[in-house]
Each structure stands twice: as C-alpha cells, then as structure tokens.
Symmetry: C2
Subunit: 389 residues, 2 copies
C-alpha cells in the first residue's frame, strides 16, 4: 500500500468522428477530459470507471494541480474502498458539463460560435457512448467495474445493459432506474427558475456578458433541500436564529424579509457559491438527462409506455451488481433501489444489496460512513481476488 497521496493530472482526448446522440443530433470535434489513478495491469482487467453526478467532474480523487481534492477522495485512493493500489481508476467529465469536456460554453464547430443554448440535449446513454470511445482509446476492452452515485449510478446501470460485454460489475449507489413524478417536478421548478431569469437570454447569456445568477441560485437551493434529510436539517439547523454578527445572539425575529434562521443563511451560501461556478445551460441539460433516464427503456427512442419492462431489459446484462441505498435518502429512496434489486433477482443475476442506516439523506453517498465504505471495500476486494490483478 502506497502512502503517497494521488496527484492526478487531467488529460484531454479529442474525438473527430461525430457522435450520434439519442435525440438524432450529432456532435463532432468534441473532447473529453479525464483523470486516471493507479496502474492498468498487463491484461487490462483492473480498470474501473467512475461516473459523476450533477455537480462533479473527472477529478474524482487526490489533489489536482489547483490543489483541489477530488469529489470522491474518501472512496478512491491507495488503501481506500476502491483501492488504487489494485485498480486502475478512470474519472471522466461528461459531455455538456462545465468542468472541462466539451459543453455549452465551447465553440460549435459548425458555426464557430459558442454553443450556449444550442448545445444538444444529451442523455445518460449518450454519455455512456462517449465513455465507451474513451475506454477504447485507453486500450481497455472491459471494465472490472463501472461505478457511480445518483446520476453516476444511472450511467453504471446504462453501461450494463447497453454494452453488457464491457462491464463485469455494476455499482449503483443512491441511484434509481427512473425518476419519479416528484423528482421530475423538482427538476422542472429548478429549470423554470433559470429559464425565467432575464439574464438567461434564452441560453445565450455569454454574449451579453451576464450570468443568470438568481435563477441558478434558486435552482441550487431547491436541489440542496432534496439532498439533505429532514432529520439531518433539523439536527444541524433546527429553528436556530442566525446571529447578527459573530458571537452576537439575535434576541428575536427580524420582522422583515432578511435572513432570520440559520437554515436560510446556509441555503443562501450554497446557492451563491454554486452560481459563481456552475453553468446555467449545463444545469438545464443535466437535469433533462436525469428526467429522461429510464432503464426499462434502455435508451430506446421513441419512449413508449409498457413497451418494455425493467426485468426484460436486464436480461441483456451480464454484470454482477452492487446496489446501495441510504435509509434517509428521500430523493432516491431505498424503494427506488428495491425496484432494481427485485428485477435483478427475478433474472437470477448476482446482486449484493446494502441499505445503509445513515442520517444524511441523498448526500450520504459522498460522505464517509464506515459501514457503507466497508461494503464497497469488501465488494472490490472480491473483484480483485476474482482475477482483476
């Protein structure tokens, strides 16, 4: 076990061949940015792909050149649950993101102008197709595992049915096979906040030199409420009032529309911060990718009701599954995972399911929790013993 912290260097791969998207549109002359951790073994059997969720990137682990720690650094690294002493781990930034891969703030090769709102709506399946090209470029024929939390888990599931021969293990954490009406409703309201911000300019705000900050801020606040559990919010903030200044306790309400409660202060901070770095067009397209995902349809267009069911689609898969949910996650509650597990069992697929009793809601998949990490560690140890080395 190496004690050196990971110092990944982001790499860029350019693709000239057009990628046909699920919408029918194509994207060409695009690039993907990625990082790798650990060493690919001789038979190239120890590669793990980590897929990211809404607000994350290719920078999964270690400390990058800017000094930023990766978003899943507690999960991926030397001696960690996904052990980079054993596995060659790939983190990739998805198309349409605002963290490096081709996205709405890049130039459209057809017009020479910034894409903005003209960047095509991409789906989970489109991301998987782009990731497959990266896989081949890295000389990998099959992933030991594809893994992700939330939206990242959807990509892992999509891999397992879209390219069954390329995935030995599918690890889907705090995820779902499809969004519920309530999930879609929250995404919709967040989008409406952005779309109706006068600074959005129909998605072409770059050329106006402005940012739809208010819309992004409200969108993030809505999202953030759904990432935390009710209990966790109660424990952390309750009805505590915000001090007037550091150490100066407020003795009663303000009786105006400023910040009374700590929870408001926290949400405003989260919203303000997010609006400084996240792209509004990226927010729109990622939430659409979430809404559109439906594993039972396995990327088919047009989507038809009752055309297929989850169990039928999973017959295509050859992978073994690790599915993990968290008891207080009300965004993608354990019931969402049960649907997947039941369909896998029905198809006599190998599946390990863990429902972790954790207080932190949806965000739990990013946090350090010994029981959760031990489940992942044990699973990856088995993969490694099973011939990944």
């Amino acid at each position: 076990m190496s004690s050196n912290p990971l110092k990944p260097i982001a790499q860029t791969l350019k693709f000239t061949e057009p990628l046909r998207l699920q919408s029918g549109a194509q994207i060409r002359d695009y690039h993907l940015i990625y990082e790798t951790y650990g060493t690919l073994n001789a038979d190239k059997s120890n590669a793990v792909l980590i897929c990211h969720a809404l607000n994350a990137s290719h920078h999964v682990a270690g400390e990058n050149e800017k000094g930023d720690t990766g978003w899943w650094d507690n999960m991926v690294g030397s001696g960690k649950p996904v052990d980079t002493d054993k596995f060659f781990v790939v983190g990739v930034n998805n198309l349409g993101s605002c963290f490096g891969s081709t996205g709405p703030m890049h130039a459209n090769p057809d017009t020479g102008k910034i894409y903005g709102a003209d960047f095509p709506v991409v789906t989970v399946e489109d991301w998987v197709d782009a990731q497959k090209r990266l896989m081949h470029a890295l000389g990998i024929e099959q992933w030991a595992a594809v893994m992700g939390g939330s939206l990242g888990g959807m990509q892992a599931m999509a891999w397992s049915v879209r390219y069954p021969e390329c995935v030995r293990h599918c690890v889907a954490i705090a995820s779902t096979t499809h969004l519920s009406a309530q999930n879609i409703a929250f995404n919709d309201v967040a989008r409406q906040a952005i779309l109706s911000d006068p600074n959005f300019h129909g998605g072409h705000f770059y050329e106006h030199g402005v940012v739809p900050t208010n819309g992004l801020r409200v969108a993030r606040m809505i999202g953030h409420i759904t990432y935390l559990s009710d209990d966790d919010m109660a424990d952390k903030f309750g009805r505590e009032l915000r001090p007037i200044e550091q150490g100066q306790i407020r003795e009663g309400y303000r009786f105006d529309y400023g910040v009374d409660f700590e929870i408001e202060s926290y949400l405003h901070y989260q919203g303000d911060k997010f609006a400084t770095y996240f792209d509004a067009n990226t927010y729109l397209l990622i939430t659409k990718a979430l809404d559109y995902f439906d594993l039972a349809q396995a990327g088919r267009t047009p989507v038809r009701e009752n055309d297929l069911d989850l169990s039928t689609v999973l017959q295509q898969s050859q992978a073994e599954y690790l599915v993990i949910s968290f008891t207080t996650d009300w965004r993608f509650s354990p019931e969402h995972s049960h649907d997947l597990v039941q369909a896998l069992v029905k198809n006599q697929r190998k599946v390990t399911y863990a429902e972790i009793d954790a207080p932190h809601g949806h965000d739990a998949f990013l946090l350090t929790d010994e029981r959760y990490h031990n489940v992942v560690r044990a699973y990856f140890n088995n993969i490694s013993v099973g011939g990944a080395q």
Copy 2:
C-alpha cells in the same frame, strides 16, 4: 336540515383603534372582511371561527355573489360536518391577505400611498388578536370552536393559549406547532424566487405597473410539490408524456427545454394561474408568519431557545382539542401532530386524535374523505349536544 345552499354576502368591519403587532409596529384604520353562515343562538354559544391557510380567504362555504364556491364548502354547510343548521360559522380574511382585508395593496393611512413592501410583517398571533376584535364586534364572548387546517390550525392553537377563556374547542388539522428546518427552507426558496424577480422592485411593483410573475410562479410550483404526496403524484402523473395536442400522443422526448412530462404541464398551469391573482407581498408575509410560528413560545418576543416548552405553554389552555393528521402529508407529517398530542396528554387536556390514512398529502385537509369528515362530524355533534344549541 335546510336544503338551501348557502349564499353568503361578504361584510366589512373597520377598526380605527391601532393594533399593536408582535413586531412592535402598529397598524391603524384597517378593515377585516368576513362571511357568516347559520344563525347565532340566543346565548351566543354556537359560534365557530374558521381560520384560513395560505391561499384562501373569508369565503369558506356556499356560493358568493361572484358565483365562487367557498374553499371549505365540503366541510361547512347545512348537514355538513360543521353543520350550519346548528352552528354560527364565521370566516374571516386575515390582515395582509390579498383577498379583501387590509393588505399590502391598500393605502397606508400614514402616507396615503400603497403599502407595498412597507406593510408590516404580521404573525399568527397578530391575526388572532385581530380576530378577537372581530369576535367582540359580533357580540361573541367565546367560540364554541376555533378551527383550521395547516396555517389555519396554527391560528386555532394560538387562540387556545393566547385567549384560553374564549375557546371551548380547538380543531387543528394537518397542522404543526412549529415549522421544521426543511419547512422553513422551502418557504425561503419560494421567497428568494420572488425577491430576486426584477419585477418585484423591492415590493413596490404596483407603482411600476408590473407583477413579479416569474417569481410568484416558481414560488407556487415549489409550494405545490410539498402539498402533494409522492405517491399521489406518481399515481396521477407518473412519467406520462404530455400529448403534443389533444389526443395526439407524443412518441418520445422533445430534447429541448419545453414541457415533456404531464407533471411539468400541471405545475406550470398551477404556477401560471396563481401568479394572475395572488399578491407577491402577501406571499412573503404569509410564509414569514408560518416560519415565525412556534406554539411553545406562545407569541413571546424575543424568542429564546429553551425559554419555554410546549407542555408548559399548554397549561394555559382551557380548551378541548381535536387534532387530525394525514399519513401521506410530508409537509406537516403526523409526527408534527404527535408532538402536540403528547404535550396535551402530558397536561391531562382532553384531546381526540385521528390519523387518517389518505393518499393525497397535505392537501387532504381540503378534500372530501368520508373517514376524515366523519371524525369532524362526530366531534361537532358532541359539541352541539354538549350545550352549544
């Protein structure tokens, strides 16, 4: 039992004496608009006050002059659970509302200008104080019952501890003794959407001839999601796509940021409709009244942590209580009602508690459900037999 439908006529009562508010501010030369149903008996012992929630008014039951049916017409009327053949029912519109009583769109007598954002922030306790003046003006010394759902239930509870001698029965439905951090968070985001709409103009949009429609629309959509249960949304909308036109089924996704799903269409409709009639300043102040309410503090200012507890405050009450919650209400879940019931039991107060297994979330308190209505009917029958007639 009369078979004539109620045909209430709204009445207005002007108050010249200033009302001191919890904030320390005063409001003078205000009016309250109200309706009454049924007949006050000789000893004035059969009066019931109905308090309204966010999006409602004094028009509780029957058909008014505009032909609009009251918001609780399934609950209040001849032969209905709150039977107007036995009870004299009063519906009152609260201060700060946009449905008739003095509010932000009225003139401030001190300046002659429209209040707008200068309308004082009022609390549940302030509303109760104003309602008490109305009670006296109607020649009533004690309510047989004060009753409300959601925010209306908070007013009923506040009455029972603020004016114990004036309330024989307190009926609190789908309500809470205080908002949770998550409840406050949702209100906060809704307010931020309004406050950051450029058409809000710091609350003085009336003089600009505009309405912060986008902010109101987003605020209402957020609220609406919290009124419905996850299951109810799934049953009603699921992942159904919106037809392109009437009868024309969509065969796949749009791949743009228009409306794909029925749930989006429904929310937009609700948001658009609300923005045409509801006042933005009223929305802000009512959500603040919700956030500020804390029965354990019983309207004390400043609010101090641990100064008082619910059980201590309820020792002041002389009323009997009917408390009702709904299993799928996740805005004010049954746990919120349990807190109240436990504190009442601890104080050996008479309390009837019903937890109704209903699928419709928070909105259930407004809907017709036989078991729910039978509980209310039986309770009011007992009040009536007990000497209200």
